[in-house]
């Protein structure tokens, strides 16, 4: 039976250089990252190349992505959040494209690697933290002091708020990572049942219908998850950025 973990392996394609003793390699993961970047760039630049007043389908997709992310950002932060639009848009499109590419059989899913999702989440976390400090100065720490809390439980609340703030990048990254990983393993396991059952002969082929149907259904579900997780990541990013802009709850 096919190994469900095999799809997550990283292979070196060529070496880029060394940092200390650590070899920096261009891997299959790198290739898919740049692939995702290329797809997004092609969609956005190619789609808007015509600058049509009445968009064709290609341009519609580019405009739809633009408006979807800008509406999400506007509804959660407001007009002043639009300075983060390129950042949030890059995040959403990168994750969405990487997730969707990963559903194609025999491909690699960039977002199924914890280090990538951690990098994404930390990037958001640091942006929120540094921009919050830059914009509000020490007023940023009002984020940990909610209004209207009695003074005697305030220290406890502050500890909870600080812990919840610090644990954001963990939940932010693990949610995406775990969803992609689990989905792809499940898909692979059910698809593996099809091949191993059908190897058993006529009865096996008949029996393989069920896991095949399951695989088909799961693929549809994974399409939903791919979009949903990209959206969840984006909307959480918006909520966190909102804290940086308006720390006073």
């Amino acid at each position: 039976m096919a190994d469900p973990i095999h799809q997550f392996e990283i292979h070196k394609i060529f070496t880029l250089g060394h940092i200390g003793n650590q070899e920096i390699a261009f891997t299959n993961s790198s290739a898919y990252m740049f692939g995702a970047v290329a797809v997004v760039s092609l969609l956005m630049l190619g789609g808007s190349a015509g600058r049509r007043l009445i968009p064709n389908r290609f341009q519609s997709v580019a405009e739809l992505s633009y408006e979807f992310v800008s509406n999400t950002l506007r509804s959660s932060i407001g007009e002043e959040g639009m300075k983060f639009f390129p950042f949030v848009f890059s995040l959403f499109m990168f994750i969405l494209t990487a997730n969707l590419i990963g559903i194609i059989p025999y491909t690699f899913t960039v977002t199924s690697h914890l280090i990538v999702t951690v990098a994404l989440a930390l990037m958001v976390f640091l942006t929120v933290f540094l921009y919050g400090l830059y914009k509000n100065g020490l007023g940023f720490f009002k984020l940990f002091v909610p209004h209207g809390i009695p003074i005697y439980i305030l220290p406890l609340i502050m500890v909870i708020e600080v812990i919840s703030f610090l644990s954001r990048p963990v939940s932010h990254s693990v949610r995406l990572f775990a969803n992609m990983l689990a989905g792809h393993i499940t898909l692979k396991v059910f698809a593996g049942f099809v091949t191993s059952l059908s190897a058993l002969g006529a009865v096996g082929i008949f029996g393989a219908v069920l896991p095949l149907a399951m695989t088909t259904a799961l693929t549809a579900l994974e399409l939903l998850v791919a979009f949903l997780q990209a959206y969840v990541f984006t909307i959480l990013t918006c909520i966190y950025l909102n804290d940086a802009l308006h720390p006073g709850h």
């Binding site: 790198s30 580019a62 280090i115």
Partner: protein
Amino acid sequence: MAEGQGKSKGADHGTAAHTAADGGHKASFPPFESNTFASQLVSFAIAFGLLYLIVSRLALPRVGGVLAARQQVLDTDLNEAAKLKADSDAALKAYETELANARAKAQAMATEVREKLNAEQEQAKAKLEESLASKLAAAEQTIATTRATAMGNVRSIAADTASAIVERLTGVSPDAGAVNAALDASLKG
């Protein structure tokens, strides 16, 4: 199964099954293989940085520009349409006012003409009636005169006739005064 992997980052890569069989190797679950982290981080930094540049410098301004241009065209067209509608409303109102004016004027004219005609007719009728009345009066006068004359003649005829009858009966021509007295008595009686 393990081939094609593990070449990249050194010797101790393997699938879960492989590692379990080997035992004791460090985590072989690919997402947790820490010696791939540096490569992935570098690639990610370059790829995401590139994407951010492309998106912020080229893609979003362009798509945003297209959307803004469309919005502007829509706004212009909508304003134009609103203006044209206001114009047509004004024209319709002016037309209705004009129509009402014309109707009122026509009515006034008709009333005037009718009244004038009525007055003329009344006048003509009155004149006619007057002339008829005077003709009638003249005719009545004539009749009265004629009758009076006729009545006068009747008396002289009766007197002549009575004289003639008396002369024939008696052979004597009666006295005119007696005849007249007898006539008067007879006419009275």
